[in-house]
């Protein structure tokens, strides 16, 4: 008797917690289906349901909400910076983990020190640098910003490479393989979890970032914005009354690619993180 009561309590507790965690998500979803455009402050569920917000999002871009263009911009930025950052991270991690050269430790300490400077501090300076080389206010500039410094985030990947037995590489070397061959033919095929982890992380961070984008893209034309910038703009005080449920619909749409990525990586995610975390 006592045992079943404990079981019920345990699951009830979990259910309450899950409910708390899901309320905002559910609210986001139901509001995206509301016919009323502003914030419904009196009722949790909309009084009138409609799919109009999604239709407006995709087929009726106007002067403040141009979702198709935002989506395209964010997608381009995400894909390109993801490719560049992943390659950079893998390259640096291989050099730091599998090769031994003069100044390696010094470089690693230097990378850690650089990582301690707050990103927000250099943001404005990055803007000036980009302006100097003529890349401010452009998608290319954003891709450069998101991917150029990514080599610094090599630590987790290096941790993973450290677990690949050195004997594998040594025996390949004895057979006459060059470092390039070892890198592409041995280490990379063995590192699928961490590659998936890196790819997804480097795709998601530009996808979700809005501060840097807001600082860099000074254009007043919504067609030049990214998803994050555009959605952020929709909940500013002057617009929120007319666009809140559109914002929610946008939020749901943005969550879709992330969820898909997440399902793919779920298997690798835990493996990847812990694989690297053990060694810091």
């Amino acid at each position: 008797m006592k045992k079943t009561l404990g079981m019920i309590m345990r699951h009830l507790f979990l259910a309450v917690l899950a409910l708390i965690w899901l309320i905002p998500v559910v609210w986001l979803f139901v509001t995206s289906l509301s016919a009323y455009k502003g914030i419904n402050t009196m009722h949790f569920f909309p009084t009138k349901w409609s799919m109009d917000n999604y239709a407006q999002l995709f087929f009726r871009p106007d002067t403040v909400a141009n979702f198709p263009a935002w989506f395209k911009n964010s997608m381009l930025i995400g894909v390109f910076s993801c490719m560049i950052s992943t390659i950079f991270v893998l390259m640096v991690a291989y050099a730091m983990s599998c090769m031994r050269f003069q100044g390696r430790k010094a470089l690693m300490s230097f990378a850690i020190i650089l990582g301690m400077f707050p990103g927000v501090l250099s943001m404005i300076a990055i803007y000036f640098v980009m302006k100097l080389i003529g890349l401010s206010n452009s998608l290319t500039g954003l891709v450069v910003i998101y991917s150029a410094g990514s080599g610094l985030g090599y630590l987790i990947c290096k941790g993973f490479f450290d677990t690949i037995p050195a004997s594998l590489r040594e025996s390949a070397k004895l057979e006459g393989a060059s470092e390039l061959t070892i890198f592409t033919k041995i280490v990379i095929p063995l590192s699928k979890p961490i590659i998936v982890y890196t790819v997804i992380n480097s795709f998601l961070s530009p996808w979700m970032d809005f501060v840097m984008a807001k600082l860099m893209i000074r254009s007043k034309d919504p067609a030049d914005w990214t998803v994050a910038m555009g959605l952020f703009n929709l909940v500013q005080r002057t617009l929120v009354g007319n666009y809140f449920s559109v914002f929610c619909a946008g939020g749901i749409i943005v969550a879709i690619p992330i969820s898909v990525l997440f399902v793919i990586m779920q298997r690798f995610y835990v493996e990847g993180i812990t694989g690297g975390a053990v060694k810091g």
């Binding site: 983990s97 501090l121 100097l132 060059s178």
Partner: protein, 474 residues
Amino acid sequence: MKKFLNAAKNYFVDFGKAVIHGNLWTKSSLVVMGAGFWGCGQYIKGILVTAMEILFFAVTFGFSLEYIRKLGTLGTVQREETLDLTTLTKTVNDYDNSLLILLCGIIGILFLVIFVLFYISNMKRVYALELEKKADRHINTFREDLRELINGKFHITLLTLPSLGVFLINIIPILFMICIAFTNYDMDHQPPTYLFTWVGLENFKMLVTSTTTVTFGYVFIRILLWTLLWAFLATFSTYFGGILLAKFINDKKTKWKKLWRTLFVITIAIPQFITLLLVGKMFGDYGIINSLYNKAGITSFLQDIGLVSKGLSYIPFLSKPGWAHVMVVLINIWVGVPFQMLSATGILMNIPEEQMESAKIDGASEAQIFWKITMPYMLFVTGPSLITAFIANINNFNVIYLLTSDYVTSNMKFANSNAKEMDLLITWLFTLTNDYSNYKMASVIGICVFVICAVCTLISFSRMIAGNREEELQ
């Protein structure tokens, strides 16, 4: 430290040796850098090195030298527009742009430093080559040199592009902002219309003074304390919350484990900036939570017990200090726990079963097992990442900025310094640059944040890099 000095000494001694003992080819490398390679038959390499030398001189004399010379004053000629009344055209004088001078000056100096290092190591390489030739050893052809780049010197190939990126995005901006902290670059000194100049430690003094007009000292201490408190609370609440939740779900007695896990993980799928803006609206002064609480009578109950002042018709979740401080920590738990649960799940599964079993047989209670076996193991594995998380929370821009963007401070001292009670150092810095163009103070604050992060990292530094644990693990 001593080792470093020795290495530096050897570096220059080797250079001296190369200059004194080298033959004519090597010596002429002092002027034409590729000469030594030509002397040994490495023609293409010689041409490449010389081309780099020419490029450097072209850039320095054609572009950056002018800026470097003006670095001392950051420009003296202010911009002036004169209107020619006969033709009605505006002419602008040849003015100095302090911003451009500082930025290009820094880039020029970096270029110079890199060139000098390259120059010295080039001399040493040329001398070594000469010695090898004398000893009649094999000298690499250009093709062999290239092959070496994907083999023994593969790290150079790998690291070149990423380092260039880091130079562009990290090193130059950081140096630039550090310099700004020692200038008077603010709203009243904005290039190109106005000049700014060096002021020494003036800004640092300003950060610790508090008078009736300057309140930076007062505000800085308060925001610093709140930042540290926030980082501590945010890190540990999500850390333990995540572990406990993972433990609870993974317990043998819990059914439908996968379902529970998925329910929590769903929240991760929605980007943080969306959930934060949404939750911010939910808890707004006239948001849905407030109207529901009002209906249920919770608001008047809180007014009765004195938690909400009588003058308000709503609960100031995110608009009054105190309430807002608690709310951001709670909302951060909501945001952070699912992530932590996910990574804790992986680690918990790796805890050796035998240890738990034997502890159970010896009669240890659940709580004892948790505190004596699970937690030490978790701490061992996640210790370094805990400090990383602490630093990440000091810099946790999103949560604070997005939740409190509607917050208006009523404290004049905060308002004087363009801050709010809710600000972390990092959001304060952002507001100062983005809304008030007060770059000088923002840079000073940025340096303070760096010092805090550096101290935290130093504590864990030895654990992260020192020791040759990486070799053991391979």
